[in-house]
């Protein structure tokens, strides 16, 4: 039996350590396609979180009933149910947002983030943990999509969440609201974050190595004394 991690970690790991976009590189399709503005990113992430949380809960509850051979098909049926719920609710309540996100809401069904979490986590864990994991992943997804959408919105249309933040003298960079801008921004963000992590890691390793170097030296001195 593997060591159980705390419930708190189950939630927080999705925020950064296993961030779906920046670390696991999952769910790239919506991350790149809908993040023309911060609002679109947040809405997409909310929809995904809803689907992820409820399908994780259901799948975790019936995880022992699902035969291994047909598990993917079963997951898809459950996921598709919740995607339909989201799609219909959005169309009824937020028709404009629904129009902007277009086909990407129905496409949540095939979002590898959701299927990935079912396969990797909720099919092996208790419902409480599965829900916490799903919420964490959803929040991490939202952090990524909101920041990506925010940067693209500021540079591409001078606004953030619809409020103008850049002066009129600033010429919006059209490329930022085009697909190329999504790849560019995401690539630069991931590169920057990896660089940060790498720098921290090398610093830690150097400290560790320094400590290891000191130890044998001391024992050698002891040996010489004896």
């Amino acid at each position: 039996m593997k060591k159980q991690v705390s419930l708190f970690t189950e939630y927080t790991k999705g925020l950064w350590d296993q961030n779906p976009v920046f670390k696991q590189v999952l769910g790239m399709c919506p991350a790149l396609a809908v993040t023309v503005s911060a609002m679109n990113g947040i809405a997409m992430a909310l929809a995904t979180t809803f689907v992820l949380t409820f399908s994780s809960l259901i799948i975790s509850l019936i995880r022992k009933l699902i035969p291994t051979q047909v598990r993917i098909a079963s997951y898809i049926v459950i996921i598709a149910t919740f995607v339909t719920v989201v799609d219909l609710v959005m169309r009824a309540q937020f028709p404009e947002l629904s129009k902007e996100l277009g086909p990407y809401i129905p496409l949540i069904v095939v979002n590898c983030l959701i299927l990935g979490r079912q396969e990797a986590f909720s099919s092996k864990n208790t419902p409480l943990r599965a829900v916490l994991d799903a919420l964490g992943m959803g929040t991490g997804f939202m952090i990524a999509l909101a920041s990506l959408g925010g940067i693209r919105e500021i540079l591409g249309s001078r606004t953030l969440l619809g409020v103008q933040v850049m002066p009129d003298a600033f010429d919006p960079w059209l490329v930022m609201i085009l697909p190329a801008g999504a790849f560019l921004t995401l690539g630069l963000m991931m590169g920057g974050l990896n660089q940060m992590v790498l720098r921290k890691k090398t610093r830690e390793e150097r400290e560790l190595a320094a400590r290891h170097l000191q130890k044998p030296k001391m024992s050698l001195e002891h040996g010489q004394e004896a």
Binding site: D171, W173, L174, V175, M176, L178, A180, L184, L188, G191
Partner: protein, 324 residues
């Protein structure tokens, strides 16, 4: 022309151990870079001549920001500051010469920062960039500010209003063809350094004669242009002639200064021919059938991406190797 080795002359008393190639060029990287700068001077002069002294400001902005970005990134990453090698100056100059006349200085600066920052330093600096940095900057500007970068100023000695658009755009969108002679002098609309074929050729031939630029790439591009462009023209004479293809737009500038960039072009002789022919094929396709009037930038960037592959497949056989 032997391949260029970047090693500086070592201290004579030290024993230098290095991997192949052992043949060294007559010149150091630094000297070569300043040769290219020299070769670009005629184009700068033609830009000033046809579009006014204000263009010096555009070119200077590009150079200053290119060099500044490189120095800043090298400082921040604690690498030796190597802007004196002139490569950033060239990138800045090239970028300054491929933007439209009176281009916004803010955009120019942004393009220069992007050229060096993303196009070059992000890949590891000089010698590691896959794509030509100046073209990366130009492509970014094209995508970010599509209107500004296609707003052309009439050259000072313009004879008619037709010259407001570039000759290629005039042909594509209005069906108006331009005579060859203004294309040679450069009295037409277009990016700063590309309009005057004479100035570009002067600098380019200097580079070819000194061996700084490998003649195979421009030669292959010209052959490609004649074959692909000429072939289409023979099939249907409503397509532009190969001569027009040759002098219009930035074909010459691209062939002599952009495609011959050491870092982003193949290193084998056969590879250079494949690369040059590929550029011309893509170029003719874009110019004749594409939505854009000009395609030199995209065709070179496109073939840049293939360079590692070309190098791999045209690797010379090792001496004594048996064909399996």
């Amino acid at each position: 022309m032997s391949s260029v080795t970047v090693t500086e002359a070592p201290n004579e008393r030290e024993l230098l151990l290095s991997t192949s190639p052992h043949l060294q060029s007559r010149w150091t990287t630094k000297q070569i870079m300043w040769f290219v700068v020299l070769a670009l001077v005629p184009s700068v002069i033609s830009a000033v001549l046809f579009f006014g002294f204000a263009q010096l400001l555009v070119i200077a902005t590009a150079v200053v920001f290119a060099v500044g970005t490189e120095a800043l990134i090298q400082y921040l990453t604690k690498k030796p500051i190597a802007v004196a090698d002139g490569s950033a100056v060239i990138t800045g100059l090239l970028l300054g010469l491929i933007v439209p006349p009176n281009f916004s200085l803010v955009f120019t600066a942004l393009g220069a920062v992007f050229s060096i920052g993303v196009g070059k330093m992000l890949f590891g600096g000089l010698g590691y960039n896959i794509f030509n940095p100046a073209l990366v900057g130009r492509a970014f500007l094209q995508a970010a500010f599509p209107v500004a970068i296609t707003t052309w100023t009439v050259p000072q000695f313009a004879v008619d209003s037709v010259s407001k658009a570039t000759p290629l755009a005039a042909l594509k969108f209005d069906g108006v063809s331009t005579a060859i002679s203004p294309l040679i002098y450069g009295n037409v609309g277009g990016s700063l350094g590309e309009t005057s074929a004479l100035a570009v050729l002067a600098g380019g031939i200097f580079l070819l004669v000194t061996g700084v630029a490998n003649w195979r790439i421009p030669a292959a591009m010209t052959v490609g242009l004649i074959v692909f462009g000429g072939g289409l023209w023979l099939l249907d004479s409503s397509y532009p002639t190969p001569l027009f293809h040759f002098f219009a737009g930035s074909f010459l500038f691209g062939a002599l200064f952009m495609a011959t960039d050491y870092v982003s072009s193949p290193i084998t002789n056969l590879g250079m021919w494949i690369y040059g022919l590929g550029i011309s094929l893509v170029l003719v396709l874009i110019r004749v059938f594409g939505g854009l009037p000009e395609g030199v930038m995209y065709s070179i960037l496109f073939m840049n991406a293939f360079v590692p592959l070309i190098n791999r497949y045209t690797r010379p056989r090792i001496f004594g190797e048996v064909k399996s």
